[in-house]
Each structure stands twice: as C-alpha cells, then as structure tokens.
C-alpha cells in the first residue's frame, strides 16, 4: 500500500505543474478528462520503465518534473501564449463554460473541492472494495508474494501509475479552471511535493487525505498572511511542511513497533 501510494504522491510531483498543457477547452467534463488524461500520460513513461526495465520510478519522475515544467514554459512562450497577455508568458483565459463554478457567492471556494471529495471517496472505495484495489494493495505490500499468487504485477503497477497521474492531473485542472482561470509557468511548483506530505500525513488512507490536505493548505494560506502582515518569508510554510513530513515518518515507526521501558540490570 505504501509503495503504490507514495508513487501516487510522487506522480503529483512529476505532473503537478505539467498537467494542463492543453488549450482552454470547452466544457468542464472535457477539461477534467483532458487534464486527467495528460496526467496519466505523463506517468506512463516512468511506469513502463519501472515495470519493464526496473528503472527507479522516483528518480525518473523527479527528472521528468523538470522536462514537463520546461515544456509548459515552451508552450506558454510559443503556441499557447496569450496575444493579449501584455507579453507575460501565460495562456488565454479559460472560456466561461470551462471554468469550475463557485459554490458560495463572494468566495473563492469552487467546484474543485467537490471533485476532490468525490475523488477521495472513489479512491477509498476502489482500494477497499474492488479487485483492482486489492491487487494494488497486494503489490504495494509485497510484490513477489503478489506475483506468486497470480496477480499481474506489471499491469497493476501501470494501472496505479495511470490512476495517480490522472488524479494529479485533476489537481492541476482544479487550480487552473477553478482558481486562476489561466495558466502561468509559476503555477505552484511546490504542490507535487506537498502531495507526498499530505499522503504521508494521512497515513496513506484516502479518506484521511481530506483533513490532512486541509491542514497543509492552512499552513500555506497562513504563511501567506504572515508574509503580508509581518514580512516573514513564505519559505517558512515549506519549512513547516518539510518538518511535518519528517515527524510523520518518525511517527510511522510507532505503528510498527512498541516502546517498552525495562529496568536496567
């Protein structure tokens, strides 16, 4: 479970910024589908390399991250540049039919949150109630044991990667179609890494991801406010998040071991 999920989080690293290299598209479902497909496609390469050549998928996705980011920049300065953008490398705004609707008037809360909640529920059901989910957990737990029991390990790895890529793609869609309305190259480069932290903080449980994500979001929003009012650098949020990840890692130890104090001698 850990392996497949960490991979899912790492998928976000690779795709977090790259996923929305698509022209502003027509309707919301289409936008979402395209984003998900782009995300899945981006992870197909590392997944196949891992499955066929056992190249470490973490390293390839980390490298792919830069390639995708540069690709986005290229598109932004080339074919997809907004002619009305005053020379800034950004796309044209997504047309109104493609923008995720706001849920509450006067607030920036948009339908992306609904998609995210549905996704969390979907992944939970998938992991606990379906054959595919069982296979994913089995492969993550012990790949050779899974292979012996007849689970198609390669296919499962590829499926998992595609799914996580698609979800990361949706995250990008929600950022662009829900919040910003257009794509720039500085679209939250840290989001992918935060995905890993959120997943670890949630102990790799899809439903727990929701509060964990809200917590991390709170750290980032809070740091923004601190930076505006007190002039404390934004990097403070990254520092807190990094420390949270390391603390959770140590904490995970106690799910496997028990401390027992014995009298010396």
């Amino acid at each position: 479970m850990r392996a497949s999920f960490t991979r899912g989080a790492l998928a976000a690293t690779a795709v977090g910024t790259g996923l929305i290299t698509l022209p502003p598209i027509l309707m919301i479902p289409l936008v979402c589908l395209a984003g998900a497909a782009a995300g899945a496609l981006a992870l197909l390469g590392p997944a196949l390399l891992k499955a066929k050549l056992s190249v470490d998928e973490v390293v390839t996705t980390l490298l792919l991250n830069f390639i995708i980011l540069l690709f986005v920049q290229m598109m932004l300065e080339g074919p997809m540049k907004d002619p009305m953008g005053m020379g800034w490398p950004q796309t044209q705004p997504i047309i109104d039919e493609g923008v995720l609707p706001r849920l509450v008037a006067q607030m920036r809360l948009h339908a992306g949150i609904v998609i995210a909640l549905v996704a969390a529920l979907f992944v939970h059901v998938l992991m606990t109630r379906t054959v595919v989910g069982f296979e994913m957990r089995a492969v993550g737990g012990n790949a050779s044991a899974a292979r012996f029991s007849g689970i198609p390990v390669t296919a499962t790895l590829v499926k998992t990667a595609l799914l996580s890529g698609a979800l990361a793609g949706l995250a990008g869609v929600s950022e662009v179609a829900g919040l910003k309305g257009y794509l720039t190259s500085d679209l939250s480069p840290g989001f992918g890494y935060s995905g890993i932290v959120v997943a670890m903080l949630a102990a790799l449980n899809p439903l727990a991801v929701v509060p964990s994500a809200i917590f991390i979001a709170g750290v980032f929003v809070g740091a923004d406010t601190m930076s505006r009012t007190l002039g404390i650098s934004n990097y403070f949020a990254d520092l807190v998040v990094a420390l949270a990840l390391l603390c959770v890692l140590i904490g995970s130890l106690f799910t496997r071991y028990r401390l027992r104090f014995v009298r010396a001698g």
Binding site: L10, V59, T60, N65, I67, M74, I196, L246
Partner: protein, 313 residues
C-alpha cells in the same frame, strides 16, 4: 562546420570541466552512500544547503576554504540526519530523501531570506580564482582548459582518486562495499553496519554539499534561488550510469558537462530558431536516456534501500 569546430576550443572544454565539477562531487557522494546501501535522495537539498552555507560563511568574513569546510559540515549533518531515519530507524529511503530535500531546501531559502530580507541584486563574495597553471598549457586543447580551473575542481579530481583508493584498496572500503551488498555478513564479522552506513552517509553528503558550494563560491560568486535546478537528481541518474565506480563517475560527469557546454554553444549557433527550453530540457532527457541505456546491466548494490536491523530476520 562551425558545430564541430567548437570541440577544438579550449574555452569549450574549460566550460565542460566547470559544469562537470559539481556533478563530480555529487556523483561521488551519491556513489559512496549507495555503495553502503543507502539511496540518498536528500542530495538535491544538500546541494542547496551547501551552496547557501558555504557562501554565507565566506560572506560573513570566513576564508574560502573555511567556507568549503562549513558546507561540508552542514552536508555531513544532513547526511547523519538522513541516516537517523533510514539506517537507525529503518524508514523508507525514498520518502526520507524527499523529506530531507524539502527540509534542507526550505531551511536554506528561509535562512537566506532572514539574512537578506530586502535585497534586489544578490550580494557577492570574492570567489575562488582560476589557478592559471601555465605549465599545463603545453598540452593542446585540454591543457589550457585545465589551467583555467579553480582549486575546487582540482579538489574534485583528488576526491575521485581518494574515493577509488579507499573503496578498492583499503579494508574500510571493503567493509563499505560489503555493507551495501550483504550487511548480515558485515555484522557477522563484528563490524557495525549502522556505524559504516552512517559514516558513508556523512562523507557522501559532505561531498554533495561541497558540490553545491562550488556553484556559489567558484562557478558564480552569489546565491540565486533555484540555482541548483535539478542537479542533484541528475547526479542520482549519473551514479547508476557510472555503475557505482569512481572512475566511471568522473568520465560520466565530464561527458555530461561536455554535452551541456556543447548545447549552450549550439544554442547560440541555432540563433533562436529552436525554443531555448528544448536545450534546457536536454540534461534531464539525457539523464533519463542514460538510465534506460544501463538499465539492463545495472548492477545495483544488493542491499540498496534495504534497512538492516540487527537481530531481525
């Protein structure tokens, strides 16, 4: 053929060696860690931490070599921190590495911002100067290229030789290689697996940090945000490409530096027809290609990424 003439210019090779230097340090560091059985994905952050801390020490008035020492110390501390998680506690090396990278990067950036809250142009230091070894200039092309390098580049070459010597010609090297292949046998010899791995992590991470310090103290004379820009991840790929051998690591890093220097020159020749991002992508595409090329015959240290807990089966 202008594109081929480039290869005969001493300046081109000087640039290639300059670009290769941080990679030499980084690959050596990653190699030492992985030979001992620990994948150190903290490398990207350790590069940043070394770049900032070494530079900051010099900026605050320390000597250049003291700065290098400070960077190495910071790197070693981060390596030991990695070791506490992965070696002592046996936690996931992937996640710990990313965690160390996040921590080291954000702490360095934050520290830099605290030290210089409102600077617009980055403050500068008096960096390492080229040694100008005129005696070398009698060798064609390569001689003048080497003569232009700074002391840190020569330190990198020295480290390659030292690493090779220690790994293959000393009992300590044998123990380090063994602990990455079969920690149980090392344990049975009465040696400390934890101690060996922690030591390898400290030394390897110190080398990585010096690689980062090279960027701020020799290649440039200031620190910029995002200046590491994936160099650490490239080092991890180059380590696999070098099949965990110091000599091959040197060749791999130099090849990589040559490619990079070459594409910069091609870029000026191409004159804006090809988008600049294509060229910037090249190092990462090359790294992935290098990984694919050696994938079939890559001989990973057997116990890489397998924690060893004494007495546990």
């Amino acid at each position: 053929m202008e594109a081929l003439d480039i290869l005969w210019q001493a300046n081109f090779w000087a640039a290639a060696i300059r670009i290769a230097t941080p990679f030499i340090f980084g690959v050596l560091g990653a190699l030492i860690c992985e030979r001992a059985g620990v994948l150190n994905l903290g490398i990207e952050g350790i590069f940043v931490a070394g770049a900032v801390s070494g530079w900051l020490a010099v900026y605050l008035g320390a000597g250049l070599w003291t700065g290098v020492g400070v960077a190495a110390m910071v790197g070693a501390c981060l390596g030991l921190m990695h070791g506490c998680f992965t070696v002592v506690l046996g936690l996931s090396q992937h996640v710990t590495g990313i965690g160390i990278t996040l921590f080291a990067t954000s702490a360095s950036y934050f520290g830099y911002r605290v030290a210089f809250p409102t600077v617009t142009s980055p403050p500068r230091i008096e960096a390492f100067q080229p040694l100008n070894l005129d005696a070398l200039s009698i060798i064609p092309v390569i001689g003048p290229a080497l003569a232009q390098q700074t002391a840190l580049t020569w330190l990198a070459f020295l480290c390659v030789a030292m690493t090779g010597l220690v790994l293959y010609r000393t009992p300590l090297g044998l123990a380090i290689r063994a602990v990455g292949d079969n920690p149980a046998s090392v344990d049975a010899q009465g040696l400390s697996v934890t101690g060996l791995r922690m030591g390898a992590l400290a030394v390897g991470s110190a080398l990585m940090a010096v690689g980062g310090a090279f960027l701020t103290m020799s290649a440039f004379n200031a620190f910029f945000f995002g200046m590491i820009n994936g160099r650490g991840w490239v080092c991890i790929a180059l380590t696999v490409f070098a099949s965990w051998r110091p000599g091959k690591a040197l060749i791999g890093a130099l090849l990589f530096g040559a490619f990079d220097a070459y594409q910069v020159r091609l870029q000026t020749l191409a004159g804006g027809i090809v988008p600049s991002q294509i060229f910037l992508m090249m190092p990462f595409i090359l790294s992935i290609i290098a990984l694919i090329l050696v994938a079939r015959r890559a001989d990973y240290p057997r116990a890489l990424m397998k924690p060893f807990i004494k007495g546990e089966r």
